[in-house]
Subunit: 156 residues, 2 copies
DNA sequence: TCAATATAAGTTGTGCACAATCTATTTATG
DNA sequence: CATAAATAGATTGTGCACAACTTATATTGA
């Protein structure tokens, strides 16, 4: 008779909140993928476009701050959005280190189509407004705790 | 005087729960990265090892079911774990389509070191047991809703 | 003024994720 | 039994993420 492989519950996969959030994130991306594909975007590209529809004109590092992404991720992503003619990149004349990202006419026009995305996703996140706000609150405090812990590690 | 760029709140980045979960997932991975690096694992590799510490022996597709990953992701990942001598792969003699993944001595030994991971992550997920279980419940019902919606799309 | 430092963006290399395809094996069916 | 269909796993190609490095420009301060 052999001992059970993992008697200690601390390492059980299903006890890990991180595993739940890992699956949740991929599930959500799965849900967005076919809907965003219809308007020619991936999920990270959609987030960039959301940021630009709010701000029209951002430097690469401002976008990075907004989305918590570095130039190693953004540079090639933005190149693809430029190839798709949704955005323009222009060196700033004031400070030639900066590259300013702005929407093209096609990028601005895409916003009308994107308005159909949230309804198409449906109510799978929350079945009521109350639930939505409760969840939003929980997730935001969880996010803050993790980011604070990370920042503390960075410093200490 | 120009109109605000995004008067419609449905496309505001910060109103998207998905964006919160996207950042949360990356924040959590950031938190695990340095801790797991000390025992020579990435975060997805850690999840695979957790599954194997529970089951000792799994086929590639059983692992895929457990983690919701396909062979396109698992094959190269398992190859890296094999190179690191944490796991072994062996063709099943009963059904030669199957590849059985099992732990090496080194892989089993790694479990003792991994026991230090959850304490090292600390209490950034929940500050109390009650909060932990509440969060776990919320996330699991959210996950189920999204997966159900995805499955419904698949069918319909 | 001009050398040290800092900042912005891009590049390179590694490792997931996932779609699409391929090969080998097994099971189902005529 | 022979062939069609299904299944398991690997491979290829694309697109993030992120670390480490490079180049160009700006800022600083001796």
């Amino acid at each position: 008779m052999t001992k059970p492989a993992a008697p200690d519950p601390t390492l059980l996969l299903d006890n890990q909140l991180c595993f739940m959030i890992y699956r949740l994130q991929r599930s959500i991306t799965d849900r967005y993928r076919p809907i965003l594909a219809e308007i020619g975007l991936t999920y990270p590209q959609y987030l960039v476009m959301l940021a630009l529809w709010e701000s029209r004109r951002l430097t690469v590092s401002q976008l990075g701050d907004r989305l918590s992404l570095d130039s190693g991720t953004l540079s090639p992503l933005l190149k693809r959005l430029e190839t798709a003619a949704f955005i323009q990149r222009k060196r700033s004349t004031v400070d030639e280190r900066l590259v300013e990202i702005s929407l093209t006419a096609r990028g601005r026009a895409l916003r009308r189509q994107a308005l159909a995305v949230p309804p198409a996703i449906g109510e799978c996140f929350a079945s009521s407004a109350d639930e939505y706000w409760a969840l939003r609150h929980q997730l935001s405090s969880l996010l803050e705790r993790v980011e604070t812990a990370n920042a503390a590690d960075q410093a200490g």
